[in-house]
Amino acid sequence: MMRIVALAIASVAGLVMLLSPFFPAMESVGAQSSEIFNVIAAIAFILGAGSLVKVNLSRVGRRDTGWGYALVTLLCFAITLVVGLGKIGVPPNPQFAATPWAGEKDAAGSAFAWIYEFILTPITSTMFALLAFYVASAAFRAFRAKNREAILLLGTAFIVLLGRTFAGVWLTGGFPEWASGLRLENLSMFIMQVFNTAGNRAIIIGIALGVTATSLRILLGIDRSWMGAGGGSA
């Protein structure tokens, strides 16, 4: 019975979202369905936070490998929660001076803004910067001229890598006007606008059809493996 109810909810909600852009009278229903999803996701936050605390507490308790990281996670979670909910250090809102806690939690000078600016921002920037190192090691390890297509790919990579920097301008900037199309920066743009666009369009069309087929299988209840492999198909 529960599986039938879950299927029915999935199918009905999906059908509503599918039809709402086409019928003006149903637009508000579609909008409300999206808002319902946001509410459910917000409530699920509590479950997620509970899981985070439980799993990390048990790791600390059992002294599993890396339990120190679990302890740091719990401390950071607790501190940020208290600082954010308590609006610690938040200056009063000039518009509502008589109302306590009317200031924004991340107003300049607040503890939350300090955490954002001096902890979160540098850490996320650092993680993003790791990509430069990893792409270099991936390029050294994986970009091998194993066959004709790979050689073509490598040639294209060289053109784009050099064309997107001053090196391309320096190497081929002296080409005459009639051969300006062969300058690396122009060649790079040509590759991006013609070959890359064609390939991307093909992939986008394939993905769109794949999404349609997957959504249809789920809406019609034919593919029920999202409920567990025991769901099988209708």
Partner: protein, 334 residues
């Protein structure tokens, strides 16, 4: 209580599909009634009969147009055509028509990967992307998770599923629990193995990378919507010697997965994964229907290229063809 009993009587003894269809019919009827009852005040029949003028005719036209958004007609036709292809092939497959499906090496490698984990005594890591359940790639990832979890249960390996969204954690728990139940290994199911980390993209990947380096999973599955963290995950997995199978419809991340993973499902292959792994005839039929729709799209593209080429050349027919193309563009809303 009466409503519940009535609903139960409606679906009792029927197949799932027909039960869902019967429950959807009243909703469809309600949609039609709501749509038809939406009329502007000026389109009252007596006012229309009393004032036969261009303004009244325009008001009637406007009321008819407001039932359906006319600008969306081409999209509606495309959806009906594509869905029709898919459903037609599904019905053919159910009727027993043979359906050929090419091998997808990445999906054939799932069993080997899980077997490797069992032999080495190390866990299987599954990441269903970093987006929420409203993203179809996440749903597709969860469907693949259910199949991988069933294999894991059968092979007596452990599976770890860190998630970036709380809703995805709950959905993943349901999927894995159902799979373990289906495999008859509910005793081995551990809900805490499927846990929420953080919504923050790089916080999530930092945590998962650390766990990968410490626990060294033997098989890593990346199935879902990924962004910049894809290369960090794939390179970390490579450094610990894990077999890596990735699948995403995010075209910007495909090059990173192709470069760093052992197998990659590209775009629609990832969407087809669940159907492929299930082996059910109607699901395989839907893949054939998808291919048929692709043939139609390719034909339309070729036709458009041909017409645009004629229009660009200085031929006697060029002007007429240009006019046809312009009117098509206008009709399609571009």
């Amino acid at each position: 209580m009466r409503g519940y009993r009535a609903a139960y009587r409606m679906v009792r003894g029927r197949s799932i599909t027909s039960a869902v269809a019967r429950m959807m019919l009243p909703l469809l009827a309600a949609c039609v009634v709501v749509t038809l009852s939406h009329r502007p005040a000026s389109a009252h029949p007596q006012e229309v009969a009393a004032a036969v003028s261009t303004e009244a005719a325009a008001a009637v036209g406007a009321s008819t147009a407001s039932l359906f958004t006319p600008g969306k007609l081409p999209l509606a036709v495309a959806i009906v055509l594509t869905s029709g292809c898919i459903i037609a092939w599904m019905l053919q497959a159910r009727a027993g028509a043979p359906m050929y499906l090419r091998r997808i090496p990445a999906l054939d490698a799932v069993t080997n990967a899980v077997g490797r984990s069992t032999e080495m005594g190390r866990p299987v890591l599954f990441i269903a992307g970093i987006q929420d359940m409203d993203n179809i790639q996440t749903v597709a990832g969860i469907t693949v998770l259910s199949h991988v979890a069933k294999t894991t249960a059968e092979y007596d390996a452990t599976i770890e599923v860190p998630t970036s969204r709380s809703l995805v954690m709950e959905a993943a728990r349901e999927a894995v629990r159902g799979s373990y139940q289906a495999a008859g290994r509910f005793d081995a199911y551990n809900a805490d193995a499927i846990r929420y980390i953080t919504d923050e993209q790089f916080g999530f990947v930092a945590s998962v990378s650390g766990e990968m380096v410490r626990e060294k999973p033997a098989a890593c599955f990346y199935m879902g919507c990924f962004f910049a963290e894809s290369l960090i995950l794939a390179e970390t997995g490579n450094s610990i010697g894990a077999i890596q199978i990735a699948g995403t419809a995010e075209s910007s991340q495909l090059p990173f997965f192709v470069a760093a993973c052992d197998y990659t499902l590209i775009g629609e292959e990832f969407m087809a994964a669940s159907a492929y792994l299930s082996g059910a005839p109607d699901q395989i039929g839907s893949l054939k229907g998808q291919d048929a729709a692709k043939v139609i799209v390719a034909t339309l593209i070729l036709l458009g290229v041909f017409l645009a080429t004629i229009a660009a050349l200085n031929l006697p027919q060029s002007e007429a063809v240009s006019r046809v193309l312009e009117s098509l563009k206008g009709a399609l809303g571009s």
